[in-house]
Structures are given as structure tokens and as C-alpha cells.
Symmetry: C2
């Protein structure tokens, strides 16, 4: 058995997210397991660093798998890309330590969330960003963002109904690039993320940018640990997993 580490890019638009679900759903994990089975003749589990939601993209998702194969890593990469559908590709493949696990061993991740802040909708940006028409106050959003950085209990930003108990996470970096009335990119780097955390954080920052919420209200929001107090979940198509570090 060989353990491989794969780096993956995918366009999430036509996937029901990462994780294999009920029959009939189209998932990235399912496509990869199908591809590995075709190439290696063996059905094995492909573990991702995390379960991206339906519609979320990745430029550098990492996955691990253990499989009996005569292929070396470059040959596995070529073979998988030959059978995978057009909206998912293997960018890199390497032999990893036998016990390497893409989720358990992940140290940090970077996500990018894109907002199109133009006055009119943008057909060329629609598939990869969230359109917010009123001009956003980036200065207020940047001030609010500082309050999320560092180690905090992010229970207020966790998807309603999640049963994760340990909700403390550390955000190493939360930056807003771009400008009002243009393309805005929020980059969030942290040691781990709760379900919907980046999208709920983005929805909350947008409320600040629209003047509906004060930048200095964030510490209390975090303290209250109540999902109902945060902003709405920003739509999936704006979110891309950029890299995972180990």
C-alpha cells in the first residue's frame, strides 16, 4: 500500500460539495474515488483536508489516499487527470508518509472570498463572486476584521445545527484587498474553520460595510456565542480554498 498526497483544483459550481452523500449526488470526493478505482482497480476512501460545501471552489485542496498501485506519483497524476471530469483536476501528486491524513494533519488553510461591488451585476464575475450593489465602506470592514484575528471562540459564526463542541479557532490573518465599487477579495488564514465560518464571517463584514452593524460590535458578537446574532451566510460561489499547509 502506498499513501499519496494530492493537490486538487475544482470549480464547485456543478458539485454537491466535497463529501460523498446519498446516491445521485455529484461530489468531488465521489469523482476522485471513481477515478482512483478506474486507474488503480481498487475502491478506496479519498480524504480531503476539509469538506467544502456545495458550490465552493478550490485552487489547492489537499487529499490523501492509501492504495495498492504500481504507478509512481507523476504517473498517477497523469492517469487521474485523464479520467476526471473537466471541472476537477489533480495539480500535484506525491508519495506521503504511510500515516499521512489530509484532514488530521492539516495545520492551516487559506480561503479567499470574492465580492463584486459594482453598481450593476457582472456576467463575467458572477460564477466566482458575490454581487453587493451598494458601495461598501471598506475602512469600516477592515476595522471590524481586526476583531476576528487571533484566538477566539467562533461559535457565533458556526452553521446553525452544527454539533462541534470545541469552537475555538485561531485566525492568523484576515485581509480585505480591493476597493469600494470594484472587486474586493477577503483572504482568511487560520488553523481551522467551523462549518460556514468564512461565509458567515463574510456576511457579517458585509453588514458592517453597508452600515448596518458597527465595526466595534464584533467582540460582543463573538462573546455571545449565538449564531443568530451574526450576519447571513454569504453565497458559496464567492468562496475558494486557496491552500492547505501541513
Amino acid at each position: 500500500m502506498t499513501t499519496f498526497r494530492l493537490t486538487l483544483e475544482y470549480d464547485g459550481a456543478n458539485f454537491d460539495g466535497w463529501q460523498v452523500q446519498a446516491a445521485g449526488s455529484r461530489t468531488i470526493q465521489g469523482c476522485l474515488e471513481d477515478a482512483v478505482e478506474r486507474v488503480c482497480g481498487q475502491r478506496v476512501r479519498v480524504e480531503g483536508s476539509g469538506r467544502t460545501d456545495a458550490g465552493v471552489h478550490a485552487l489547492g485542496q489537499v487529499a490523501s489516499l492509501r492504495v495498492e498501485s504500481r504507478l509512481d506519483a507523476p504517473a498517477l497524476l497523469r492517469a487521474l487527470n485523464g479520467v476526471l471530469p473537466a471541472d476537477v483536476a489533480v495539480l500535484g501528486a506525491a508519495v506521503a508518509a504511510g500515516d499521512f491524513h489530509a484532514r488530521h494533519d492539516a495545520c492551516a488553510k487559506l480561503y479567499s472570498y470574492r465580492i463584486w461591488n459594482g453598481a450593476t451585476r457582472s456576467p463575467l464575475r458572477a460564477a466566482r463572486s458575490h454581487w453587493v450593489a451598494p458601495a461598501l465602506d471598506l475602512t469600516a470592514m477592515r476595522a471590524a476584521a481586526l476583531n476576528f484575528c487571533g484566538r477566539h471562540d467562533f461559535a457565533s459564526l458556526q452553521a446553525a445545527g452544527s454539533d462541534v463542541v470545541q469552537t475555538e479557532r485561531t485566525l492568523h490573518r484576515l485581509e480585505l484587498a480591493g476597493e469600494s465599487r470594484g472587486e474586493i477579495e477577503i483572504q482568511v488564514e487560520g488553523d481551522g474553520f467551523l462549518r460556514h465560518m468564512v461565509r458567515n464571517l463574510t456576511g457579517t463584514l458585509i453588514e458592517v460595510g453597508l452600515g448596518r452593524r458597527a465595526a466595534d460590535s464584533i467582540p460582543e458578537l463573538l462573546e455571545r456565542r449565538d449564531r443568530r446574532l451574526a450576519g447571513p451566510t454569504a453565497p458559496a460561489q464567492g468562496l475558494t480554498l486557496i491552500w492547505v499547509s501541513y
Copy 2:
């Protein structure tokens, strides 16, 4: 009657190009004429600055129309965006001089052609760029590009079968940004373009970048006025019309 000038953005992927054709084809011009008819109650011709091919995108196409309407320009913009399909939008609308014509009056245009020069295909870039796997020699491509700048007869780069007789055009600028093994953008600004000219020029530059054609072979290529001597037509999805000036 009022003459309006519209600035348009569209994702060309699901259009059979700009120009209204046989029944059953889906064109940007057709969608706009339908939208104007719904909003103004009158079927009129919408003229574009040029006829983008099937699959070509626009970030700043310009169109003109003359119509009987009680709407002012901002109201027309909002009304059209309310009825247009998601892959085309009006970014700007203004009342123009009565005889303004988007094609006849155009002075210059800027096109962008994007190449993804990664070793593996890129699902997130596929819809908007052309994948070239071998590393491209950008230095040679830039040297070749200089030979296209200025006033030349571009008959060699015109789509086979075109009946345009006056094939001289002036390229004001032809720049390659980016780097080998990454995203490359070719920007071409000129006073006018023959059918397929930017895509044939790009296909020719790619041959130079792959070492299949010498950078200094371009003057002779232009002199010969023979389409068969130029490179293949680069695929439509990499091309975007950025702006038109008047």
C-alpha cells in the same frame, strides 16, 4: 426618437456570437433587441461596435440603438438589466448624438487574450482562457509581437473566406503580461480588427512561444498575405473585448 449608447458586459460561453443569425440561434444582439422590445414596446436594430464570435466575451462592448422611449438613460439601463438573461448586462447607458453608430464611429478597441500555461489543466481558468501545457518562451513571443505593431496589411491573419478587401489595420499596442508556467495575458489595441485577427495573431504567437516559428519570421508572414502561413485560430473562450473608444 432617441439614440442611446450602451456599454455591455457578457459571458460569451452560451451565445452563438453577437450577430443575429438564423432562427434558433442565441445571440447577444438578439437578446438585446428582445429586451428593448419588452421595455420600449418597439422592435429596433441594436448595432454593436463589432461582431464578436461565438464564445468570445466582452467587458466593455458598445452598442447603439434609436428608439421611441419615455425612459431616460438610467431608467433604460435598469429596465434592460431587469429583463436581460444573467449572462449579459448593461453597464452603462447614455443619450448619444442622433447619428451616433457604434460600429461606424469606433476609433479603437482593446482585446485581451488569456493563456493558462500551467503543466496541468485548470478547471477554474478553463472558461476564460486557453490552456497551453508546454512552457512558452515569452521572450521570443514578445520579440515577435513587436513585428505586428504599427500599420500593416493583416490579410494573413484574416479568417479564411473573408471578403474584406481593405485589410490594412494599425495596432497601437501589443503586450504580453505574465510569465511562463503561469497566467499570460495578451493585450491588443488597434484601430480595427479583421475577422479572427486577434485569435490568429495569438495562435501565431503561441507557435513562436513553442519554438515552432521564429520571432523574426513575422514581417515575411505579413508580406505574403496568405492565411495558410499563419498559426491556428486560438480558441474563442480566451478572448475578451475590453473597451471601445470613440
